[in-house]
Symmetry: none
Subunit: 354 residues, 2 copies
């Protein structure tokens, strides 16, 4: 398995080879996920538990807040399995959780869980009801002051229905991004998502400033992480955004805020890494999304797939039923940069399903 | 695959097992390499590019300054393939480059490239035209001040025609080293090398001090690294010289400088590790070279060979067509010390040739 370049060149990622990372997992709930059929990231009726369960599983290999690990109605297992398998074969030095508004706190001892007094956001089709400026500033402060003894940071997320909010935000900020956003569905539920995004955008008018727009139709992760990136950029710490179109949307929020503040952003210390399932997705276009930014950035995908397994639940990834989440792409990258291989990783993932 | 002791015992190297290293790659051009037929370390007419291409390949797995990776006219691939394969399977924590006089700078971002305002040296058959004392002091200062967050340093080199200059230097410094020097050729081009060395030595007389001699007939790597070793020895940092007879010549330069300064050198924190191809070479004798030093030192070779492959280009190493360079021996050592095995390493090297 290899890391392939989407934009830029491979020097950034090669520089990180052999180095140790802290894995930060940003967790958030938005009530947008309660719109029926909008996401398959979890168990119907218990979608809100997905980030909590994902974080428990990545940290401990157990789910504590439910009997079983979350899988979709079709039986696609969460990408948290991939991230956990990486952690078992080429362990991160450290995992920390960011509670960006969770309905249910993860039941984990010892691991650092950063709390910021952030509440789950409301549904974007009415009003997400976020204080975006305050939330951005919380991210900014956290980034400015974040210290790690590791060589770099991998920032991942688990936010059910996050592609919908990401898509809405990118449109609200004026980006021409039709057809560029991914969904965890194979048959992208265009109608429900489109309708939700349409309703969300009806609240927006061109006269609004960026933070007003974000307050109405974002999720917490997009805003906080934009602040985190800008805060961290003052510290010279290298950062890999582990995610697909949602993380690309975070970059667009950064881009718009920098523009709003008439600043210039140097992205030399940040990067993005996603999965091949996102990169090859016919229903989205992460490369074009990234290229909407005014700054240059090195971005990558990993070419790992499930060709080495015959397990039907995993094969669904190769069929496009699930593509990314819980930092799967960045985790596979970490695995590669620390000398693992496809068969080892595949076998480790399979163990969770037996 | 195993690490075998040449001199001393295996405690030094066993102490490093499981520890993380920074890989320093010293790069230099000498116009000696332009003497026709003197080296096969690269593409005829483009030999000067070899250290640049080697460093690009080790860092990024790409060559940027030429279309293809350097191979000899006979098609022997550069040992940089071995070093890179190690980095992909058991990654070094960090790679840094030392520009000790390059015709062409490596085209690499992010990686630290140390510049010392050193120019490529001239050919030793006329006058290498080096300010040896100044160069030595640059190495000394760099060694004194070099900081690493890793457990130890592996110091490698890529200097085309470096065995010729190393041989000339050892003779000029008065060492009885007939037949002890290796070449990257199977059929050691004795006549061209001997003639060049003879011409070089004609410039030397016994009344000259060591730095005058080195200025006339050395290459930059030999002098700078001698300084680096002596500077670093004041810091208690452990160092493995990754190379064959050229690195042994660096030790002889250290030995002569210490003698010249009427000092005593304790080599307990340094070591040398080379390949079995050098150790078993009938046309050279690294053990005897090392034993010319007045200090005791632990030195090793790795017993890796290409018995696990049927690839003809790699088989040429086992036939003696290429033996060492770009830290191959020290890299294989690192691979062993970090739990890899012969088959894994062989398969990774083969990938570059498909």
């Amino acid at each position: 398995m290899n890391i392939k370049t989407i934009t830029g060149n491979n020097d950034f990622i090669e520089f990180l080879r052999g180095k140790k990372a802290t894995f930060l997992l940003a967790l958030s709930n938005t009530n947008t996920a309660n719109i029926e059929g909008i996401t398959q990231a979890g168990i119907p009726g218990l979608i809100y538990l997905t980030p909590t369960l994902d974080s428990e599983f990545v940290c401990t290999s157990e789910v504590r807040s439910l009997e079983n690990i979350a899988e979709t109605p079709k039986g696609v297992p969460t990408p948290a399995l991939i991230t956990r398998a990486v952690h078992q074969t080429t362990p991160f030095s450290n995992i920390e959780l960011l509670d960006l508004g969770l309905m249910k706190k993860p039941q984990i001892d010892y691991f650092k869980i950063h709390h910021f007094d952030i509440h789950p956001s409301d549904s974007i089709d009415t009003d997400a009801n976020i204080d975006a400026l305050e939330l951005f500033e919380k991210g900014l402060e956290f980034g400015k002051n974040y210290k790690t003894s590791d060589d770099y940071i991998i920032l991942a997320e688990s936010v059910p229905s996050g592609t919908t909010t990401a898509n809405a935000v990118a449109l609200a900020l004026g980006y021409k991004c039709e057809g560029m956003f991914s969904s965890s569905f194979k048959n992208n539920p265009k109608n429900i998502k489109d309708e939700t995004i349409k309703k969300a955008l009806e609240q927006i008018d061109d006269g609004m400033d960026i933070f007003t727009k974000l307050s109405l139709i974002s999720d917490n992760m997009l805003i906080f992480n934009a602040g985190f990136i800008l805060g961290l950029s003052s510290t010279n710490t290298k950062l890999v955004l582990a995610g697909g179109t949602q993380m690309a949307a975070v970059l667009l929020v950064v881009n718009s805020i920098v523009e709003h503040m008439q600043g210039v952003f140097d992205a030399k210390n940040i990067s993005l890494c996603t999965t091949r399932w996102v990169y090859e997705d016919k229903n989205s276009d992460i490369k074009s999304l990234i290229e909407l930014c005014n700054f240059d950035i090195n971005t990558y995908y990993t070419d790992f797939n499930f060709s080495e397994t015959s397990h039907p639940a995993l094969k669904m990834y190769d069929d496009g039923e699930a593509k990314e989440g819980v930092g799967a792409g960045g985790a596979i990258m970490y695995s590669i940069l620390n000398g693992s291989n496809k068969l080892t990783l595949t076998k480790e993932i399979e163990k969770f399903l037996n």
